[in-house]
Each structure stands twice: as structure tokens, then as C-alpha cells.
């Protein structure tokens, strides 16, 4: 339909359609409330036709009128908004298929077009203005010609007709609409299916080439109080609180304004309950709120109208009694982001005639600056152009701890400063301490202007003091039931939900707003898509708008973007065509599309699932909408479960924290509830199970621990699994979890965390048992981690201790893989006899010295340890509870459970000998290193000397000796005089040590020499 934005009151066709498709919600709602518009013959929802119009149904002529509106709507100049223009232009081509649906189910319409509509008889349309008598207006025909159309005015009847129109549309929405909805949806699916099976027709995608100068979030942000989407009771209370300041701020002007506001309030609340002409709440582009229009809504009487009006009456009474500022001077709005807190504060303040000054996180928030600012706002009256009093909005007051405190402190100081002087002056009946300070009187810094603070987390530590003073207005209460929406719709689990209507209202208001935006932007959005969008993000009003607007930069799981949706859908079609897969319906938004991409990418990151066809993805998307909770795929992953979270993921966020003990969660996972067979098989039962588990797991948070618990306990369960298939599935799922977790960590795609709880759910579906499981706390993985770290530490320190000439060739991993096992063999040769050194044969002595040199070069020795940690694998000989074991404890590295190695272990006596020898060798070596180092300085002189000394380890000295001669000639000269003494002392120590060691050292040294020389010989 090529329709301009006429400021008409009748809902546009698309909106009507939309309304119909969604009105099963209001219907439920209304049924509950026993709406008196309902007639018995309209109630059965299965009956598509309601042949008998109710007795007081508007006359046929009115239907014609609206029909006329529907079918023909040429453009009309916007300046004539207030005039009812009806031009009959034949435009047959523009009726959409959906319209026909609508027509089919609408009450029977009289065929002949009535006389009121000026039809062919007189000239209504002409190329020339002169041919039309009476008023006429220029319009552009579809082919671009300028034509003149006759204007027909119905001034006298206008009001009545409007009313009738209204009631007519009210009657429309009370149609058995769920049938229509179902059919519509069916058709949409059928269409999509058809399209996907054919794979050829790309749906015409409206070109969206509008240049947008502003984000839609800003563009369509509510400007007036009545446009607010947030919970109306909260809105009203905020307004009420602000109004209480009137006496202080505005003095006597209170009466008139408040009357206005109150009536507006009243109207507002009634429209909210009316929820039929959704778009009419939003004013046109160039108009403010049109409440003169809206006035007619008042007379639609409602059951709860009386309640709300009574409330308002109370407010009025209270107001008239109250002459001071409210008892609580600060309003604290809390709630999760995107609810419209800031908007509410701004709009409400503006509505009450304040000039809003906002301080938010981006501003400087040190105590001094903020104090100046607050004082400025609160105490000064602006004398500049804007003479309105100011209202301070401190946004994100909970922000960073340090920053937030500044503002809180200042506010607190001002409140308490004001209390003291006022305390005795006057006291309120409630026993409250504070009373308003008179506008001019107080010298101390006091609050004489309303201050609204906004935070996300009411319980942030920075806010604690403020919380007691401020009128804490908790959005979360509302959130609790707003958020519980989808799960409770599915499962009927609404224990903590006071009443559905607030949600439903919100939902419809949101839907209306979306529709409105779509219309404004000239986009064609199907009802289903919009509903889906609204459903996904009931609360995230703000964010959704931004994502509709332009979210290609946003992270995938954020909501979809309507405009791009269509482009993307097209893209998806192309992709599918190229891959020959099934097509997903276009109506699913960008969000789903992105999710699908996400899924695909995720799984294609994985080995076995590389070629997930789009068909599968599309299929999953389908299944979400249909509410099918279980379809098994040929692949190893239960993608259907993943897709389920589309519905749930966004909504769980703000649910009341119901987190449970982890043990309980594990029990829940492994325990299958005994349910009635019927229920278990039904979708309902399954989705209930799914939802409760999902919220359980996701509320708990540390999915790592949960998974560890599952891993630890799953094999202890008693499930029937003869072919191990269930076990394989379980472990595959654990693997998927691991991959996902790692992927999230690696790419920092935190939103993907939504999917993690699905793994436990799948495991639950596979192995859950009716009998109570015995849960054990998962220790083994933790134990494994710590022990491995310990052992790694041992290896690393060992690695560092080994002299670099050897260590550089080894890595810590090669220690375990290659080195340790043979080394243990080598270090404990069975041939060595534990006898005194003197009794050994030459060959044995040679072996011993080699063994000692090996131990020294690998930095291994024996140490006495308490035998309570008896290495079982090594057949140790225990001596009085003390054993000598290797240090570093490399024998532990082959100490496996239930494993006996055939390593020979030396006797204690032998070990003692070795300890002794190793010690000796070490001491010697230190000395050698010293001499070696010095020898390097002036090696020309000393080399001969060192060679004369019987050295057990010539290798080191030779290695050390080798040095280029080039640039050391001058050094030699300098050191020549210091060398002799050192050499002599060196010789002395060597001699003394060799003497004390009963000549053994000399032996070893001598015996070492041949092998040493031989090796160096072979080296060449």
C-alpha cells in the first residue's frame, strides 16, 4: 500500500493484521478479566466466522467506512491532519494477500459501497481542478500524474464515527483470533517451505535505502510521558514523586499542572489497558502528543479502570494534603539495562516541567566536581533562557566503585545537612525526620530540587547508604514477571509471577511501537517477524531498537536487525541455493540468522561437523518456532537443544536468582523425575524439564564445576548401556562443552555462554535415572591439576640444576618421555656390590666412578626421607623407617597405580656410599670450577698446572679451557702476578682432600684418565 503518513486513527492494515495475529494474548488476558465486550457466540475460538454481529455492533455503514479506508488511501497533505479526507481511488493491486486473509475472517461486509463514499456518480477524480465542484486537493496518481480529488467532509459526524471506528476495531480484536494467528503462521510456514523446496523464488525484498541520520533508538525514543513503554505503575509512581516537589519548586502553580497531568495519567493508563489501537499512542512526525484524539478512549469502561482511577484519586488527595517535598528526597531507579530507566527519568522530569541535567558515567565524577555540579543544579535557579527549574539525573550511580561514591557522598551530605536544622522544626505524621527546607531559607547545602539516581544494581556496595534514604524504586520487581514471560507461557510455571497482565501489556505496547517504527521507516515487516522480535526482547527495549537500526557491528546474539533482516534473508537464500539446502522462512529475523551463522561457524570449527548443511541450521530455526523441543540429528550434536536457547537465553538473564547448591544441580541432572507418561511424552513436559534445568544450570554460573561433577559421576550411574552408546554420547557432549568453552575463552565471545548449559541438559536426557544418584564431589580433576603442577615444578627445578651443557639438549617433556626410565636403570646397576671401596676390583671401581659422575652431571643424589611415603614400585629396603631415595624424586615419575616396574633398587649401604661419593665429587668440582675460571684468565701459565693435578672430571676443565686466544693477550699480562698464589692454594686443597679421602680420589682420578682420553680420541 502506498500510503503516506496520514494522521488517521484507524489502524493501518498491517497493524490490524499484526494485532490479529497476536491477539491471543490479549484474549487470554481479557478472558481472565471477564471482559464485558465479549459475547458468548464470539468466545469459541475454533469458529473462524462469527456470523452474528452482536446486537450493539455498529451499523454496516461504518464498516463500509473503515473498509473504504482500508482499500483506498491515497496520499493526503499532512497539513490537513485534522480533516477527514476520503478519496475513493481505485487501487486494486495494492491489497496484500494478508489483507485478504483478514477480510475473510472479518465480519461479513456489505458488498455495495455505500452512498456516503462519493463514488463514480459525481466526478471525484479529475485531471483538472475545475471539473470538481467543491473543495479539492491535488494528489499524485500512481503513474505520476497530478490529479485533483474531491474532498468530502463529514465534520458533523466525525466524532461519532471515530468512536464507532474505535469500537469496531475493538470488536475486531475480539475475534477468535488465535485461529487466525494459527492459520497465518501455518501459511507462512507453508510458504517458506514451498519456497525452500523449490529454491528459486527470492521474495521481493523492499529496498531500504532510507538515509538515517539518527539511530532509531534516539529517533523513536519516547518524548512524552504517554509514550513510555516501561511499566506504567512505575511510571506513575515516578511522576507522583516528582509531583510532590511541586509545592517546593513551583509554589502555587501546582493545581493546574497536576490536574493536567493527572488526567493525562488517567488517560494513559486506560489506553494501556485498551491496547487495541496500538499505533495511535504514537504521534505523527510533526505533532506532539495528540491527546485531544486520545480523549475518546476514556469512555471505554474497564473493570480495572475503577481501580486505577481510585489510585489516582488517592494520589490527588495525598497531594493536596502534602505541601512539602516528598519524604524521600532522592529517587533511585534500578533495573537491568535497556528497560528505559533513563528515558523514564528524563521524560517524567520534563513532563513535570523540569529542565533535566544529567550526570552520567562519562562525566567527571570526582567528589569536588560533582558537588559543585549538584549544588549548581539543586540550589540555583537558572536565570538564563531556560527558566525552568532543574532536575538532576545521576545516571549510572553505581558505576565504578570509587567513582560512584563521590556522587553518593555528596548527596548524603546534603541530605544529612538538611536534616539537622529541620529536625525540630516540623515533623511529619509518619515520624520521618526530614522535612522540606523552605525554598530560600537554608544556608546549608540542601536539596531543594528533585534528584533521580539511576543504577543497575541496587545492591552495589557504593549505594548502601543511599539506599536507606532514597525511595528505592526497584524495577527488578517488574522485571521478575516481565522476564518470566516466555517460560511461563510455555510451561505454566509462574509461581513467582504475580499476574500476567503487566507483561502482556508491555508486550503489546512494545509490539505496537515496533510496528509503528516499521511503518514510519517504510519497511514491510511481517507480523510474525515482529512478534518474534518483540517476544525475544520484551525488556530490552532500548537495545532492541538499536539492533533494529543497525547492528551489523553488534555481537551476533544480540537482537536482530529488521532492516537488514531482509537483505540477510536474501543472502541466506542465495547461500542456500548455492548449497542446495532447505530454505528458512524469511520471516525470521536477523537474530536467528546470526545465531544460525554462529552455530555453523562454531561447529565448523570442529572436525567432524564441518559440512553442516544449511538445511540443518534452517531446520533448527524452524523447530524453535514450532516449539519442537526434540529432533535428533544425524550428527553427534544435539543442535536442536542449542537452538532452544534462542527462546530462553535472553530471558533468563534477569530472572530471580534461584541458584541452588551445586550438589543439588548434579542430582537434578542425573535424576529423572517420575512424571506421568502423558506429560513426559508431550512437548510440554519436555520443554518444562528443559526450562527448569536450563535456568538451574545457568543461574548457578560456574559451568566448569558442574561439568566436572558430571564427568566425575556419570560413570558411576547405573544406566543401561550394553553397547556403550550412551557413554559415547555423554563424552562427546563433554567434549563439545570443552571445545565451546575454549572457543569462548579464546575469542572472548561471552554471549555464547548461553549455550553451555545445554550440555548438562543433553547429558540429563541421555543418562538420567529414576533412582537417586550418589553424587561425589569432583576431586580428581583438581587433584590431577595440582599434582601435575607439582611434578612439573620438580622437573623444572631439576632441569635448572643440571649443568647447562647437558640441560640445553633436553626439554622437560623429553625428561619423562625418554630419560627417566632408562636413567633409573642406569643409576642402579645390579652388578655393584655394597662393600668397602678398597675391596672393589679395578673394573668395579671404574663403574662406580662413572656412576658417580653420572649422578653429579644430572644433579641427582640420595637423601634420607621418612619412609611413610614408601615408593611401592621400588623394592626398597627399609632401615628403621628411614630410606634413602633419589633427589629429585624421579622415581615417582614411574610410580603408576597398579603398576610394578622391574627396576632394581640399590641397597641402603650402596646408596650411602653413593651419597658420600657424590658429595665429595661435588666439593671437588666446585674447586675445579674455580681454578678453571681462573685458569681461563691466564691460561697460558696455569694450564700445565691444572693438568698435573689428578682431576676426576677433566671434561669440565677442558670445556672451560677452550677459549679463543685473540683478545686476551693483554689480560694475561695483568693477571700473571695474581695467578701463582691461587694455583698453589688450589693445589693445597686438592692435596688435602685427596689425603683425607684415603687415596680413593687419586684412584678414581687415575682411572678416569684413560677413559677420558679415549673418549677424546674418539671424538676426533
Amino acid at each position: 500500500m502506498d500510503m503516506d503518513d496520514m494522521d488517521m486513527d484507524i489502524p493501518l492494515p498491517e497493524e490490524l493484521e499484526l494485532l490479529e495475529s497476536n491477539s491471543h494474548f490479549p484474549e487470554q488476558n481479557q478472558e481472565e478479566e471477564d471482559h464485558h465486550y465479549y459475547f458468548a457466540d464470539l468466545d469459541p475460538p475454533t469458529e473462524p466466522h462469527s456470523p452474528q454481529p452482536p446486537p450493539d455492533l455498529p451499523a454496516p455503514s461504518l464498516e463500509i467506512e473503515s473498509n473504504g479506508h482500508k482499500r483506498s488511501r491515497p496520499s493526503s497533505p499532512p497539513e490537513e491532519k485534522r480533516t477527514k479526507v476520503r478519496v475513493a481511488v481505485e487501487e486494486d493491486s495494492s491489497t496484500a494477500a494478508a489483507d485478504e486473509d483478514w477480510l475473510r475472517y472479518s465480519p461479513p461486509l456489505p458488498e455495495p459501497s455505500a452512498q456516503e463514499t462519493t463514488f463514480p456518480k459525481e466526478k471525484t477524480l479529475s485531471r483538472f481542478a475545475s471539473e470538481i465542484d467543491g473543495e479539492c486537493m491535488p494528489i499524485s496518481a500512481p503513474n505520476g500524474d497530478r490529479v485533483y480529488a474531491k474532498l468530502n467532509r463529514f465534520e458533523g459526524e466525525e466524532r461519532v464515527k471515530n468512536l464507532d471506528c474505535n469500537s469496531y476495531s475493538a470488536e475486531l480484536s475480539s475475534e477468535p483470533i488465535n485461529v487466525i494467528l494459527e492459520r497465518l503462521e501455518q501459511e507462512a510456514f507453508a510458504k517458506a517451505l514451498e519456497a525452500s523446496s523449490e529454491g528459486q523464488s527470492v521474495p521481493d525484498v523492499p529496498e531500504a535505502q532510507t538515509v538515517h541520520e539518527r539511530l532509531w533508538v534516539d529517533k523513536y525514543a519516547p518524548n512524552s510521558f504517554t509514550e513510555l513503554l516501561s511499566d506504567e505503575q512505575t511510571n506513575r509512581e515516578v511522576l507522583l514523586w516528582l509531583k510532590q516537589w511541586d509545592s517546593v519548586v513551583f509554589g502555587s502553580e501546582i493545581r493546574s499542572t497536576s490536574d493536567d497531568v493527572l488526567s493525562a495519567l488517567k488517560r494513559h493508563s486506560s489506553t494501556v489497558h485498551n491496547k487495541k489501537p496500538l499505533n495511535s499512542k504514537f504521534p505523527g512526525k510533526n505533532g506532539g502528543p495528540k491527546w485531544s484524539n486520545g480523549g475518546r478512549y476514556i469512555n471505554s469502561t474497564r473493570m480495572d479502570e475503577s481501580g486505577s482511577s481510585k489510585r489516582i484519586q488517592d494520589v490527588r488527595n495525598m497531594k493536596s494534603r502534602n505541601i512539602g517535598p516528598p519524604e524521600q528526597k532522592i529517587l533511585l531507579l534500578c533495573g537491568p539495562p535497556g528497560l528505559g530507566k533513563t528515558t523514564l527519568a528524563h521524560v517524567a522530569a520534563r513532563h513535570c516541567g523540569y529542565h533535566v541535567v544529567e550526570i552520567n558515567a562519562s562525566d567527571d565524577r570526582s567528589t569536588s566536581t560533582i558537588e559543585a555540579k549538584i549544588l549548581d543544579v539543586v540550589q540555583m535557579n537558572s536565570v538564563l533562557s531556560d527558566s525552568r527549574p532543574k532536575c538532576l539525573v545521576v545516571d549510572e550511580i553505581d558505576g565504578a566503585l570509587g567513582d560512584g561514591k563521590g556522587a553518593v557522598e555528596v548527596l548524603l551530605k546534603m541530605i544529612s545537612a538538611e536534616r539537622k536544622p529541620d529536625a525540630g522544626k516540623q515533623s511529619l505524621s509518619k515520624g520521618q525526620l526530614e522535612k522540606k527546607a523552605s525554598k530560600k531559607g537554608s544556608k546549608t547545602a540542601s536539596l531543594s530540587r528533585p534528584v533521580i539516581c539511576i543504577c543497575n544494581d541496587l545492591y552495589a556496595p557504593a549505594l548502601r547508604p543511599l539506599r536507606q534514604l532514597a525511595n528505592a524504586h526497584d524495577f527488578t520487581n517488574n522485571i521478575a514477571y516481565v522476564l518470566a514471560l516466555a517460560p511461563c507461557m510455555l510451561t505454566g510455571n509462574n509461581s513467582h509471577q504475580p499476574s500476567p497482565p503487566p507483561y502482556t501489556n508491555l508486550f503489546f505496547r512494545l509490539l505496537g511501537r515496533l510496528t509503528y517504527i516499521c511503518n514510519k521507516e517504510g519497511m514491510k515487516a511481517s507480523a510474525i517477524a515482529l512478534t518474534a522480535l518483540a517476544e525475544y526482547t520484551v525488556i530490552r527495549v532500548l537495545r532492541k531498537f538499536s539492533s533494529i537500526h543497525d547492528s551489523s557491528s553488534e555481537s551476533p546474539p544480540s537482537m536482530g536487525l529488521l532492516r537488514v533482516t531482509f537483505d540477510d534473508a536474501e543472502e541466506m537464500y542465495h547461500l542456500q541455493q548455492s548449497e542446495g539446502g532447505v530454505k528458512a522462512p524469511v520471516t525470521y529475523g536477523k537474530k536467528l540468522w546470526l545465531q544460525a551463522c554462529g552455530i555453523k561457524c562454531l561447529f565448523s570449527a570442529e572436525a567432524g561437523l564441518q559440512g553442516i548443511p544449511w538445511a540443518v541450521v534452517a531446520e533448527c530455526l524452524f523447530s524453535v518456532k514450532r516449539g519442537i523441543s526434540l529432533i535428533s540429528f544425524q550428527k553427534h550434536l544435539r543442535i536442536n537443544n542449542l537452538t532452544q536457547s534462542f527462546d530462553i537465553g535472553s530471558q533468563v538473564v534477569g530472572q530471580k536468582d534461584k541458584s541452588k547448591n551445586v550438589l543439588d544441580i548434579w542430582k537434578e541432572i542425573f535424576y529423572k523425575r517420575r512424571t506421568k507418561k502423558m506429560e513426559r511424552n508431550s512437548q510440554r513436559g519436555k520443554s518444562f524439564e528443559f526450562d527448569s534445568l536450563y535456568s538451574l544450570v545457568s543461574n548457578r554460573g560456574d559451568s566448569d564445576l558442574i561439568l566436572d561433577g558430571i564427568h566425575e559421576n556419570v560413570l558411576r550411574l547405573n544406566y543401561h548401556d550394553p553397547m556403550m552408546q550412551k557413554t559415547v554420547k555423554c563424552f562427546n557432549n563433554l567434549g563439545v562443552y570443552d571445545l565451546l568453552h575454549q572457543y569462548i575463552m579464546h575469542t572472548q565471545q561471552m554471549p555464547l555462554y548461553v549455550y553451555l548449559p545445554l550440555v548438562p541438559i543433553t547429558v540429563h536426557q541421555i543418562v538420567s535415572q529414576v533412582q537417586k544418584p550418589n553424587i561425589e564431589w569432583p576431586k580428581s580433576h583438581q587433584r590431577y591439576r595440582t599434582m601435575m603442577m607439582e611434578k612439573m615444578d620438580i622437573l623444572n627445578t631439576w632441569h635448572h640444576k643440571i649443568p647447562p651443557q647437558i640441560a640445553r639438549h633436553l626439554s622437560t617433556s623429553s625428561f619423562v618421555e625418554d630419560l627417566i626410565s632408562p636413567l633409573l636403570h642406569i643409576l642402579s646397576p645390579p652388578t655393584i656390590r655394597p662393600v668397602a671401596l678398597q675391596l672393589l676390583s679395578d673394573k668395579e671401581k671404574n663403574d662406580l666412578t662413572q656412576l658417580v659422575s653420572k649422578m653429579v652431571s644430572y644433579a641427582i643424589t640420595y637423601k634420607t626421607v621418612k619412609s611413610d611415603i614408601l615408593p611401592q614400585t621400588l623394592k626398597c629396603e627399609v632401615a628403621d623407617g628411614l630410606t634413602l631415595s633419589l633427589v629429585p624424586p624421579i622415581s615417582d615419575f614411574i610410580n603408576f597405580k597398579d603398576y610394578t616396574s622391574n627396576h632394581y633398587v640399590l641397597s641402603v649401604a650402596m646408596k650411602q656410599i653413593l651419597v658420600h661419593e657424590v658429595e665429595k665429587r661435588r666439593i671437588l668440582q666446585v674447586g675445579i670450577d674455580k681454578t678453571g675460571a681462573l685458569a681461563n684468565g691466564g691460561h697460558g701459565v696455569i694450564e700445565t698446572g691444572t693438568n698435573k693435578i689428578p682431576l676426576p672430571k677433566t671434561n669440565y676443565t677442558t670445556a672451560v679451557d677452550m677459549k679463543t686466544n685473540e683478545n686476551q693477550v693483554n689480560v694475561v699480562a695483568r693477571q700473571l702476578n695474581t695467578n701463582p698464589t691461587i694455583v698453589s692454594s688450589n693445589l693445597n686443597t686438592d692435596k688435602s682432600s685427596s689425603a683425607t679421602n684415603s687415596g680413593k680420589l687419586l684412584n678414581t682420578g687415575n682411572m678416569k684418565k684413560p677413559t677420558r682420553s679415549s673418549s677424546s680420541f674418539f671424538d676426533r
Binding site: A605, E606, A607, G608, H711, L715, R716, D721, P722, M723, M724, Q725, T727, C730, F731, N732, G735, D738, L739, H741, Q742, S780, Y784, M788, K791, L795, H800, Q805, R808, H809, S811, T812, S813, S814, V816, E817, L819, I820, S821, P822, L823, H825, P829, T831, S853, K854, I894, F896, K897, Y899, S901, Y904, N955, A959, M962, K963, T964, S1014, S1015, D1019
Partner: protein
């Protein structure tokens, strides 16, 4: 000294296994046209030995005079400054580090060390040996970021400093770095080469080798020269003179894995899987890399498996190993493989024997 270290060739001329590579390296040094080098190959094939010999060829014997140092670097990383501690092995002309020890801050290590080397550029009046050498171990364990930061540094300071990179698998070194280096693949020595080396060692040690004995060791060694020499020495310690039927003691962890494999073959049930898990944990605790466990396990299982299942089992092993590398908790994936194997094997048993 173990024979491994004792008989390690110190100069390029003495290298026995990769003689051709050694020859080429020598030529590179001689022509003083040494590019950045990337040595890669399996462990125990002689990468480090070659690198050391190369260094000696470049700088003479002074290259072997190394000292260990625990050094700290102060790094300015944007807003904060980090203190990095790392063990280095350095001689007058080269520095050797394993930057992957620094964890995720390895990037800074690489940059800092190279910059510092560039600052203290050794001056030689003859215009010779003007560059230092930086040996980086385990480059494949370097993070992506570190590798990316390395490539620019590598080019910028190439006049002052040559890099010798050493890793097991070049596939985890980014293409950018590989293309900046002369890649030297050090393959595992063949069994004949191992036998040759063992015989030479035997000769040096003055031992009598019965015929075929060295071949048996080589066969058991998995073409890992270090392991071959170590088990050779083990044999020497356990029994000398050698007999040709002498038992060659296996690696303990390999023995343990074959025990696990026989456990798996005996019974396939969740209970058994639970027992196997305990053993797997034991292996992991002892720092045996999970990939190696999986590989070895597969090998042990294949040994006892029916031929027609082998292909499938191999496929699944590869599948789970891939997943293991993508993931973090290796035990999940190893167990998943065991479960899968059990499932396959059991259904096979039932199909064949009813």
C-alpha cells in the same frame, strides 16, 4: 656422564646422522651468509646437537662456555609495566631462551631480548661476526601474538642478530615466520643410522656387541636416537657382556599404557571405563603429554585388534585428538576415545561371536 652426552658430536664434522645438513650448515658459516634458521623435527633426532655444533662452528669453542642466568626484564606493556623473569643460557656470542616459559607474556620476552641484543651490538674491528645469535626453543609453543611480534622484530634487527628457532612441528609456526627463515627439517634417524651410532659408541666404550643387538635396540627406540642410546646404556648396566637375547627394558609409561590397553580389551563397560580413567589420570599426572598418551594407546590397541576395525579406530583416534587440541580438558577427549573404542569393539564382538 651419560653416553648420550658423552658421545654427542661437538663439531659439525663429527655429526654422523645428518651429514648432509651438517655439510650445508658448514658452508653457510664459511660463506658468512647465515640467514635465520628454523630447525624442526621430532624429538631425539638431533636438532639441538646440530644447533650447538653450528654455534661452535660460528664462534669457535667459546660458544660452549655458557652460563645460566636468571634474568628479569622490565617491559612497558601499554599502561602497566611487567616484570618478566626468564632463565637464559648465554655465551659471549649467543643467548638461548625458551620464551614459551613466560606463558602468555612471551611476546614481550621475544621483543625485549632482541632489542637488547641489538643495543649491545658486539663490535669487531675486522668487521667479522658482527651479529649475535638468539636461539629460541619451542617456538611452536609460542603464542600467536608472540609469533606475530616476532616477525617484524626479526626483520628489523636482522643486521645485529640472527635467530635460530627450534621446534618439533613447523605446522604451529606461522607461515610468516617460516618464510623468513631457512627451514631445516631434521628427520628422525633411520634405524640403520641408529645402529651405526650405537656401534660406534660400543667401539668407543670398548664393548662387544653381539650381532643384531644394536638393531633390536634401534627397533625399540621408535627412531629416537636419545632413547636408543639411553636404552643401550641401560643394557650395558644391567648385563654385560651382552647376549643377543637380552631383554631391553621398556619405558615404564609405555608399559603402563599397554596395561591400560589390555584392560580395555578385556572388558567394555562404564565401570571399566571408570577404572581406565584413574589410570589415565595417573599418566597425565606424571606429565606425559595427552597427545602422546592417545597415540601410544592407539598403537597398543591396534596391535591386538582385528584388521577390519583398524581403520575405523584410527579414524576416531584422529577425530578425538583433533578435538583434544581444540579443547582444554584432555581427559574428556581421551576418555571419549576410549568409550568410542569400547562401543565399536563391543558391537564387533557381539556381531561376530553373538
Amino acid at each position: 656422564m651419560l653416553w648420550v652426552d658423552k658421545h654427542r658430536p661437538k663439531v659439525l664434522d663429527h655429526v654422523m646422522v645428518h651429514t648432509e645438513i651438517a655439510h650445508n650448515l658448514k658452508k653457510l658459516v664459511k660463506e658468512e651468509d647465515c640467514p635465520h634458521l628454523l630447525f624442526y623435527g621430532p624429538s631425539g633426532s638431533g636438532k639441538k646437537t646440530l644447533i650447538m655444533a653450528l654455534l661452535r662452528q660460528m664462534f669457535g669453542p667459546s660458544a660452549e662456555k655458557v652460563k645460566v642466568e636468571n634474568r628479569t626484564w622490565k617491559v612497558d606493556a601499554g599502561s602497566r609495566s611487567l616484570d618478566l623473569e626468564l632463565t637464559t643460557l648465554s655465551s659471549a656470542n649467543h643467548i638461548e631462551i625458551s620464551p614459551s616459559d613466560a606463558g602468555f607474556q612471551d611476546r614481550y620476552v621475544v621483543q625485549e631480548v632482541i632489542k637488547e641484543m641489538a643495543k649491545n651490538r658486539p663490535i669487531d674491528t675486522k668487521g667479522k661476526k658482527v651479529f649475535k645469535v638468539l636461539v629460541l626453543n619451542d617456538v611452536d609453543k609460542l603464542s600467536r601474538e608472540a609469533q606475530h611480534s616476532l616477525r617484524r622484530t626479526m626483520e628489523k634487527y636482522s643486521a645485529y642478530c640472527r635467530l635460530i628457532l627450534c621446534c618439533n612441528s613447523s605446522s604451529r609456526v606461522t607461515e610468516a615466520i617460516r618464510s623468513r627463515c631457512l627451514n631445516v627439517r631434521i628427520n628422525a634417524p633411520t634405524e640403520e643410522q641408529i645402529v651405526e651410532v650405537l656401534e660406534l659408541i660400543g667401539k668407543k666404550e670398548g664393548l662387544q656387541l653381539p650381532p643384531g643387538f644394536a638393531a633390536r635396540i634401534a627397533e625399540k627406540s621408535n627412531r629416537n636416537l636419545r632413547r636408543a642410546i639411553l636404552s643401550f646404556e641401560t643394557c650395558r648396566v644391567q648385563q654385560y657382556p651382552f647376549t643377543s637375547k637380552q631383554e631391553i627394558s621398556p619405558m615404564d609409561w609405555e608399559e603402563y599404557i599397554s596395561e591400560i590397553a589390555s584392560d580395555i580389551m578385556k572388558e567394555q563397560s562404564p565401570k571399566r571405563l571408570f577404572q581406565v580413567r584413574g589410570k589415565l589420570y595417573d599418566l597425565l599426572i606424571n606429565c606425559i603429554p595427552p597427545e602422546i598418551i592417545l597415540k601410544r594407546l592407539l598403537r597398543e590397541l591396534l596391535r591386538k585388534l582385528d584388521a577390519e576395525l583398524k581403520h575405523e579406530v584410527c579414524h576416531w583416534a584422529a577425530y578425538y585428538e583433533h578435538r583434544m587440541r581444540l579443547g582444554q580438558k584432555s581427559i574428556f577427549h581421551i576418555e571419549a576415545f576410549v568409550a568410542k573404542f569400547m562401543s565399536i569393539y563391543k558391537s564387533f564382538l557381539i556381531a561376530t561371536f553373538g
